[in-house]
Point group: C2
Chain length 600, copies 2
């Protein structure tokens, strides 16, 4: 088993050299923190990842959760890790001091989550889901809900979940049918089914707290009639004891990967005795959920980049150990075979992986910093950060998810036949990473979100802000002779994105919504390439700055490696920008108007 | 479980309308055959696929071969299918009449193999491997070898294998160390280990016949000292009884997919009692093996396209049954949700799958027809067919293998969360298809084969022949107004391939072999896109011909579907030709000269 799964040096480079997050303490909310706390927290996360999580990676895959008499038995490390996550303050890390949290910046907790997920993705989701669910209660719930549910969740004794999907309502949440019948203004009887609920039932905790979407009797149809409820597996009775709340797990899914976490099918209120507690106001459930969606989607992108990181280091290690073949220029069979890292094609695949992993993580941390800047006291700062975060979230979810698959696949390919076998971690990582373009909104949904909502919203304000940010990077980069050719390429790419966006906007303006959104997925891919190019340019700038700084001695190999990987990305990956732009600028109806019976 | 896994109508369209293989009977070797036999054979293959193979697809995946006391226990259907393959003449189908075969064209047996593999890839390899091994004996073996081994193989009672790879020699066969010590001129004592040997041991047959590469004592180093041997698991003793031949299976690999077939680790001659029979002359083993390589590589491409075909029909079926969401132009929640095949993004993914599956199969059958034309009595015909077959084989192996992965992945994506679960076949097909860029020469090896050997060989004669063939298609297509825009695109693409090839040839000419081959994998991808564009143009021409013919009533929806899928391919997939060409025309050393320590 490969030992390295992520680079803390890279995380620190992104945090401090690229995004300068040490200055986040200028925002009052974060003033207690400093680079020292950030170092300590990330180092601790790496230690836990190495010691608690990584050793169980393969074991949890080979012994997936087992469904038995309505219970789901999970690996014993789940209980241990949930406790450690509670005791160490990981579940409440982002929460405010006054609710028992640590008020840590999102970019720091995201870095830690990246380490956890790189070590063992399945294990990493248990506390993460709990954190997200608790955050929802904290943001929109009554004091009663906060007092009743949050302590158990922050301590890691109770699991939190998001219970959205139903058999007939996946991508289309408008079609949710789970019913809520009022007992009083805060308490409802819940009845319905939820599917694909991560960690919806397991024996690693003492209770499970579902944040569930349901429709109150007589609510308006569609998304405007959906409310949010807290529905625990066990509720308190009048004496304060925990009793069953009529939530039944009817089974777990058998999945391609991501096997260490149970994805469950849940039945609520089969005996008409399932109580749900309303969160916030009736019929606003989806808007509450959407306010948490950016975080959840960034976390999916982080999980994908993390798995791709583990694959990169595993294939790098193999490529340094495995001897096979000879240099093209020296084929004599009497000479010794060389390590496969010497072959250009293997180097290309390693550079591809590195470019995807580090480019993705950079965009994720960029978004996390915007998230943290929502805490700024300046209205303009907050406004800009919010626009950019909303705009870039579908990209930070999708680029790592889609490209992570290809990146892990390249890692598997480096191992040849061994990559296809379970003695090495690649085949598991290849299965694990495939979930990410699916959950928390498929790639298709993200494309529609980006193009249909984010890009054209507020008269294109977010798009303008994005262009401005990239423009700053282009200017900075152009002052370094080594980066100049790439800042020129970046400029062209940005212009293309602008032209395509205007063209699509004109189609939307003509009242042709089907044509407008037909290739939203391709637009998302195009935008992703532009955004990651920008992130690589930022990394190139930071590396050049470090190399030319007269202060402390830079790690020159690290900086050269950054600059070289940036070059790889521009030379090998950005060409697709042209091809996608051309496609998006063409007028044709290849998909929209093809009748279904032509599929034979 | 989806019922349809392949389209016989499509196979017949390719065979008869695109490649006009009914005229193969003008070649004396095939004169006994006609469209009637071809129809009968392919219909029978579909029936066997549906009745014998497809019902066991999931079962064989969930109950993989089990290693027990040096034996490998496989699913009982393996014995049944091997017997059926023997009795039905499938294993000997290509062999000449006078050695008990049916002298069927390779394009027909490839079509049948496509059906078998689409129904159940793992099951399909048992007879296929036997056929390939028998073919080697038939081509290069002595009468003794033919009489001793072929009957058991053709009857399906004995399994054939290819035993090439060793722990230290995978991509680099030059480094094989298995030893052969002469007993007499035909008989040797074999000692060594082989790994990743498909069907190298199992209880579905009574004996196993390994076609094994080994090095005779004192043979020259490298590829020039490798000889080919027949090494049976059980050999005949002096009384004609079968006795152990000291071949031990020490284990099976646990793989990502392709689980129905055992991939074994074999130890030969651990007790110095393993006899091997020399095939042909000493030290010519690799050249014999290479003469069979085209077939083996086409078969890998066929397997990949077949799995992608099964995925296409499974996701198509789902997309017609699953209701979710509404048209962008009609979002009212009071309206009923639509079938997901109505969504443009789903149609795009279905068109992508269809374009990859049918484009790949077309190229494979094109190569198969060239293979059959090697039987032509005209020297020029044979010469041209040989050049084109050699040139296109690495592409027909790789394009389906690499794009098959993406195609199956798109199918999985259409099913959303269900695609990730094992209630539907997609997740298995996704695992199964990943083997193809690895076995029978990785994609990296195919790229070097194409660019380093095939393209520049014989002063570019193969490349000239290819350009000529594509030119004919361009001319034909330009006479149909519906095809004209695409024949223009094809022309540009072909020109780009020419320019890139000349540029790379000039680098080779300058004596820079490392730089020349550094991006051979990208060149292979570029060539693949050009070749598949050509195949789609040919299909477009055949569809237009059928629609405009005054003869029998064409299936107009089928033809429209072909033309539409061709358009999809040109609009959505061929743009990458520009990007790859640009990359290949750039001067830079991103991979060749990067030192290994920059990977951190």
């Amino acid at each position: 088993m490969a030992q390295k799964f992520a680079s803390l040096q890279n995380i620190h480079f992104l945090l401090y050299d690229v995004f300068k997050v040490q200055s986040l303490n200028e925002i009052p909310y974060f003033e207690e923190h400093s680079r020292e706390t950030f170092d300590l927290v990330t180092q601790t996360a790496l230690r836990i990842s190495s010691e608690t999580l990584h050793p169980h990676l393969s074991e949890m895959d080979k012994n997936p959760p087992c469904y038995q008499n309505s219970e789901v038995l999970v690996h014993p490390m789940v209980r241990a890790f949930m406790k450690e996550s509670g005791a160490g303050g990981w579940i409440s890390a982002n929460a405010p001091f006054d609710s028992g949290g640590q008020q840590l910046p999102f970019c720091i907790t995201t870095s830690c989550y990246f380490l956890f997920a790189a070590a063992n993705y399945s294990a990493s989701v248990y506390p993460l889901l709990t954190s997200g669910a608790a955050h929802l209660i904290e943001s929109f719930g009554s004091d009663f809900l906060k007092e009743t549910f949050i302590p158990g969740m922050y301590s890691g004794e109770w699991q939190g979940t998001m219970a959205l999907t139903e058999p007939q309502a996946g991508s289309s949440l408008a079609d949710i049918t789970t019913r809520a019948v009022p007992i009083d203004s805060q308490t409802y009887r819940i009845k319905g089914q939820k599917v694909f609920i991560s960690a919806g039932e397991h024996n690693g905790v003492d209770n499970i707290v579902h944040l569930l979407l349901a429709r109150i009797e007589n609510a308006p149809a569609g998304t405007k009639g959906i409310s949010l409820f807290v529905v625990p597996k066990r509720r308190h009775d009048s004496r304060g004891d925990l009793v069953s709340n009529d939530v039944l797990c009817s089974g777990v899914y058998h999945k391609l990967g991501y096997k260490g976490a149970p994805i469950t099918h849940l039945i609520f209120g089969d005996n008409d005795d399932c109580i749900g507690y309303l969160v916030g106001e009736p019929n606003k459930g989806l808007s509450y959920m959407f306010q948490m969606m950016n975080e959840a989607r960034l976390e999916v992108g982080t999980g994908a980049a993390a798995i791709a990181s583990a694959a990169y280091y595993a294939s790098l290690e193999y490529s340094r150990q495995r001897a096979q073949g000879r240099h093209v220029s020296c084929k004599a069979p009497s000479t010794a075979p060389v390590q496969i890292i010497e072959h250009a094609d293997v180097k290309r695949m390693l550079l591809f992986q590195k470019a995807i992993v580090e480019g993705s993580l950079s965009l994720i941390l960029q978004c996390s910093v915007y998230h943290d800047r929502l805490r700024s006291e300046s209205h303009d700062d907050k406004k800009k950060a919010g626009l950019l975060l909303d705009l870039l979230t579908p990209i930070a979810k999708t680029f790592p998810s889609e490209m992570g698959i290809l990146s892990v696949s390249a890692g598997l390919q480096i191992l040849g036949g061994y990559g296809y076998c379970d003695e090495f971690p690649l085949e598991q990582l290849y299965r694990d990473v495939r979930i990410h373009p699916i959950h928390e909104g498929t790639t298709g949904i993200q494309g529609i979100d980006l193009l249909g909502r984010k890009v054209l919203g507020e008269n294109g304000a977010a798009m303008m802000a994005f262009m401005g940010e990239v423009g700053i990077a282009i200017n900075k980069a152009s002052s370094y002779s080594e980066l100049k050719p790439y800042s020129d390429r970046m400029k062209l790419a940005l212009e293309k994105l602008g032209v395509v966006t205007m063209k699509l906007a004109s189609i939307a303006g003509k009242g042709q919504p089907e044509q407008f959104l037909a290739d939203a997925t391709l637009y998302l891919e195009l935008f992703g390439l532009v955004a990651i190019s920008w992130q690589w340019l930022l990394q190139g700038i930071a590396a050049c700055e470090a190399l030319s700084s007269s202060g402390q001695e830079p790690d020159s190999i690290f900086c050269q490696s950054k600059i070289h990987t940036m070059k790889y990305f521009f030379h090998y990956e950005t060409g697709k920008i042209d091809h996608l732009s051309e496609r998006l600028l063409e007028d044709n109806d290849i998909t929209v108007n093809v009748p279904g019976d032509l599929f034979i």
